[in-house]
């Protein structure tokens, strides 16, 4: 039986911000058979922050590549994301574990014996966004996505200005529910990957997939 300790012996660690992100990338890596990458959840910025604990984790000293993946939701003000503040926050987190990263995502920087980098999730326009934005843009069933977007917009119109929070999450899960496959009803993003509800060959996923391939082949 493969234990968590065995997985953590992998030379590349992908630190995911939050549970959904963790399960999404874990399933993506499984699907793409990237066996050098170990995925772990470092929790969201507003939760108990486990990022600093990464260097204390068993087998950290034997890693070669550390990559952090997160969205940009926390740095948004009135819906507009401050990109510089996202990068600053990421750099500071890496500095807390004595690693440095560059100014751009999806590239690796050397610090001593390790390489480090980060992924910022993007929305359908290619701008920084959330995991749900990304999943909406790569969902297999485009009609279901269109219907989900229309549904949320319709509900918003009916609520006399009381706009639904986390619209991206509502749209995504309605889109999954409207997908023809039964297994997609109530699916989480990771399950959607496993059940074939998301297209990992999609143009919008290309740069992330290319980067995952790079880090998997790095060691």
């Amino acid at each position: 039986m493969t234990t968590q300790n065995d997985y953590s012996k992998r030379p590349v660690w992908l630190l995911c911000e939050g549970n959904d992100c963790y399960f999404f990338f874990m399933r993506v890596l499984e699907k793409l058979e990237m066996l050098n990458v170990y995925c772990l959840d470092v929790k969201g910025i507003n939760d108990r922050d486990l990022f600093r604990g990464v260097i204390k984790k068993t087998n950290y000293n034997n890693t070669k590549v550390i990559v952090y993946v997160r969205d940009a939701e926390y740095e948004s003000v009135d819906g507009a994301v401050n990109y510089e503040s996202v990068i600053k926050s990421i750099k500071s987190r890496f500095a807390s574990i004595d690693l440095s990263v560059g100014d751009k995502p999806i590239e690796l920087t050397y610090t001593g014996r390790k390489q480090a980098g980060y992924i910022i999730l993007t929305n359908n326009d290619g701008n920084v966004g959330t995991l749900e934005d990304l999943c909406l843009s790569i969902a297999v069933d485009n009609d279901a996505v269109d219907d989900a977007v229309s549904t949320v917009d319709y509900v918003n119109d009916k609520r006399n200005g009381k706009v639904l929070k986390h619209a991206h999450k509502r749209k995504l899960h309605i889109a999954f529910a409207l997908n023809g496959k039964e297994k997609m009803v109530g699916a989480k993003t990771g399950e959607a990957v496993t059940n074939g509800g998301l297209n990992l060959d999609h143009d919008r996923f290309k740069s992330i997939r290319k980067f995952l391939t790079l880090i998997n082949e790095c060691p």
């Binding site: 968590q4 300790n5 953590s8 772990l40 959840d41 929790k43 108990r48 486990l50 600093r52 604990g53 260097i55 204390k56 984790k57 068993t58 087998n59 950290y60 000293n61 034997n62």
Partner: protein
């Protein structure tokens, strides 16, 4: 309390520095040096006794006679290399101390032995295998030193100490009493004495309370004839000898009695989880932590058990520290990873491996 310790060339530890809390738990893979850390503490405070090397061997279950005299202490040197310079330095109660042990062939063991009284009956013909060691202990600006040598004759292999190790002057630094405990080494007569002491001090109820966490049917501890220890267990007509109650009960009673009787200032426990069911672990840990605090007794323990680490993480965070020893795949060197008491529960809650 020992706060920091640096160990060089002792057993598998080439060079490692550690910090200790009042209650420290040490994890790590097999053969990484967890037990060696405990033994280093034991050697540091037990060095005045020539028997310390035999005791160190017994901790490893090496009770068989050595085939060659040098085996008696070459195993304490890193890489079994007697030419290495073994040192253990520490900060205890804010004072620095160190123990240095090294082979000293310049020492004239034969010259010393000629002064030994006749009743020692030492055949000088066997002195070729003496392997003299110099032992130097420093506490602040004071120091004491002596030599140890091995003598092999028809009666077997013996260690002889020459110097002031047993003189009152050698007891500089008020060396703390230290006890090494593992489930292979329960010393029943010693436990009997400890229980006698805590009975006199009216502390026995506390020990019974700790045992109740393991088995709620235990009502009392009774000292019987011929140094037999019995337990009064609900539902049984006769008292049960402690030895019939399992390893966990005996071990926990021993540690508790050591602390309650103020008989050990430092308790070293190898594989603390042995014999203790996971459901009892937390209360045992918490009570040990509490008793240690009340009796100014430091506990340093090793473990492989995640249940043990989880239980430990729930003890008072001001008093605990978890250390994992890791061996580098590249250099082979062992280094400690200290996980602070705030981070440890968070890592465990996320099912992160910390052992």
């Amino acid at each position: 309390m020992i706060e920091k310790m640096s160990v060089k060339n002792f057993r598998g530890l080439a060079n490692v520095a550690l910090s200790f809390a009042p209650f420290t738990l040490i994890g790590g893979a097999n053969n990484v040096g967890k037990t060696s850390v405990l033994e280093a503490v034991f050697l540091l405070y037990g060095h005045r006794s020539p028997l310390v090397f035999q005791q160190l061997r017994s901790f490893r279950n090496a009770s068989a006679p050595v085939a060659e005299a040098r085996e008696l202490w070459e195993n304490i040197f890193n890489d079994y290399d007697l030419s290495k310079y073994l040192s253990i330095s520490a900060v205890r109660d804010k004072n620095s101390e160190s123990l240095e042990v090294y082979r000293d062939d310049s020492y004239d063991i034969a010259g010393e032995l000629t002064q030994i009284p006749q009743d020692a009956k030492l055949p000088t013909s066997s002195l070729g295998l003496s392997y003299p060691l110099k032992v130097l202990y420093k506490y602040g600006k004071k120091e004491t030193q002596f030599h140890l040598a091995i003598n092999t004759d028809a009666m077997g292999t013996n260690i002889f100490a020459r110097g002031n190790n047993n003189s009152p002057a050698a007891n500089i630094g008020n060396i703390p009493t230290v006890t090494f405990s593992s489930d292979r080494l329960l010393n029943t007569p010693h436990l009997y004495d400890l229980l006698g002491k805590i009975s006199r001090n009216k502390q026995k109820d506390k020990a019974v309370n700790v045992l109740k966490d393991i088995d709620g049917r235990i009502n009392d501890i009774v000292l019987g004839e011929k140094q037999q220890i019995y337990l009064d267990v609900t539902g049984l007509i006769e008292m049960i000898p402690l030895t019939f109650m399992g390893t966990g009960v005996s071990n926990v009673l021993y540690w508790t009695a050591l602390a309650l009787s103020d008989s050990a200032k430092i308790i070293l426990i190898d594989e603390i989880e042995n014999g203790i069911h996971y459901s009892s672990m937390q209360s045992v840990m918490e009570k040990l932590c509490d008793i240690g605090e009340r009796h100014d007794c430091q506990i340093i323990a090793t473990t492989h058990s995640i249940d043990c680490v989880r239980s430990f993480s729930k003890c008072s965070e001001k008093r605990i520290s978890y250390i994992r020893l890791e061996r580098s795949l590249e250099t082979g060197e062992v280094s400690p990873v200290v996980i602070d008491a705030q981070l440890l529960p968070e890592m465990l809650e996320s099912d992160w491996e910390v052992r």
